[in-house]
Symmetry: C2
Subunit: 325 residues, 2 copies
């Protein structure tokens, strides 16, 4: 028996109790097996009430993103205006890259309820269970040259933090260089930009945005619990995912337009104002080795200006930020 | 009748005359059709002698790259040590990108005798007829961050110009920013770097190298003849393609090692010494609009420092170089 069989049975009789005996007869499995599948459905976000002698009753289904709910909230002109909404995919980045190679327009968006191989920075995997987060990828075709791509990485972090603040103003969100968003030192989202370029010309950028919206502690591997937190865990309330998606697209489009019109300067100011990386002794692991110093701010290219221990200045473009303090 | 049928017939009887009548009977076509296909084979590099009353005789085949000839000439440790040699492909860039996505190692090389959709800068097509040029793509996985990719573009131009000078020391080769090689103001080669990055980390760079080695004037579309020239046309002699490939790989590997050890400074000096772009009034078409000024040199990132007409300095990272003078 799969949990899908059990689910159809409960859905057919939604609101009514179905006895364990009836289920075990209908699906030809033991009552223990029935109970195990009930637990699995609960882990997926279904609420199933179990009452002795009456049986099981489906009382709530996991929230599901729908176009009907999302589209009326969209305030953008191009971001998300071409949109694919998937149940499950290996990774929205892979889906959108295929579309990008086929030539789809800037602003094209792919959202999935679940990713089976969600990817984070440095090839790490990204926890993306069904119906609980926002796992999406947005296509940019920026008319800027390749060396300026880090500016887009920083812009994405500002856009995402502004959107979350709009929905959950009580959360104090900080940006860890270059683009992790933290609440109380724990990561609430991840951003990954995959760029394709010919010589110094950017062809496209696939911006992956992962927001741990309504995950519960049990959704995380235990070793991540001191490093990661969901918006729901941090704020104590469930997040309206479609409202948050609409906010992210709106903020992102606004900042992107600002960037194309006025350049990086306003983005730099917004980023620095929200950063938690500046002014603290930090270890940076660059491709050329470890750098220890105090990050002072961004340079006009988007690099991180770091004051080393000997007082000299160094600009870092690519690094993992390690322990600070 | 295809030219392939005719070719097999002539090859079967290599060194002997086959009469036009016999061919037209064997292939069931008119003698005029036979003559047309003979002309096509000649255009592909076959030499076919036509003698009245005796018929046609195959006297020479186009030169063909072979591993037997190439491998003994290779002096490199990794560049070209993993090698695919193809007869025909759409584009060696596409072939190598597929391999790169599968994770093959740095230094992997794809060479083709002919490309059906060879690509140049800015999405332009690239003339790449059978057996007459060097059409190849080399994989790099440089441990440098994305903003430094233009340095590799410049490095490739230096490596290629040094290799050609090694084989044909009489040619005076100049580099037009960023990476076109010119002889007497005409283009002899093209370089195209396709980069894939995650955030500010380069994943891989596919370096496309196209060298118009032994093309004849008739191989070019007429409108290109005042802009492009082959090494054979420029030097008056046929180029040993496998020796030139070996030189390119050797020079490229040497400079790449130097770059990873000592950074961009030595590459910058070598590039500037060979440039024909510096010191002359130049029009640069950037994504942000036209810039007119005198290029003075490279900056430490690989950008082109241009003195504008009002005396101010501007650094350009991405542009098409237009008319100068």
């Amino acid at each position: 028996m799969s949990k899908a069989n059990l689910l159809s049975l409960l859905e057919e009789r939604e609101g009514q109790y179905v006895s364990g005996e009836e289920i075990s007869r209908a699906l030809n499995v033991s009552r223990t097996a029935v109970w195990k599948q009930v637990r699995k459905l609960e882990a997926d976000g279904y609420r199933i009430e179990a009452v002795p002698r009456l049986g099981y009753r489906l009382t709530a289904k996991p929230s599901r993103l729908t176009l009907q709910e999302l589209l009326p909230k969209l305030q953008t002109t191009s971001f998300g205006r071409r949109l694919t909404l998937l149940d499950v995919t290996d990774s929205t980045q892979n889906e959108l890259r295929k579309l990008a190679e086929q030539g789809v327009a800037e602003g094209t968006l792919v959202i999935a309820e679940q990713q089976t191989s969600g990817r984070g920075r440095m090839g790490r995997s990204w926890v993306s269970p069904f119906g609980k987060g926002i796992w999406m990828s947005l296509l940019l075709r920026p008319p800027v040259s390749l060396p300026l791509t880090p500016q887009l990485t920083l812009l994405a972090a500002v856009a995402l933090s502004r959107a979350i603040s709009q929905q959950l103003p009580e959360l104090d969100i900080g940006i860890k260089w270059p683009n992790d968003l933290l609440v109380g030192g724990k990561k609430i989202s991840g951003i990954l930009l995959e760029s394709a370029a010919e010589d110094e010309r950017l062809n496209y950028v696939v911006v992956g945005l992962g927001i741990s919206a309504n995950l519960e502690a049990g959704d995380y591997p235990e070793e991540l619990l001191d490093k990661a937190i969901s918006l729901k865990m941090a704020s104590g309330e469930s997040v309206d995912r479609s409202a948050l998606i609409a906010s992210v697209l709106e903020q992102f489009e606004q900042l992107y337009k600002l960037y194309l019109e006025q350049g990086f300067a306003p983005i730099r100011t917004l980023w620095e104002a929200r950063s938690v990386t500046l002014g603290k002794r930090t270890e940076l692991y660059t491709p050329q080795g470890k750098v220890v110093g105090v990050p002072l701010g961004l340079d006009e290219m988007g690099g991180l200006r770091v004051e080393l221990e000997d007082g000299s200045l160094r600009t870092v473009y690519s690094a993992e930020v390690g322990a600070s303090g």
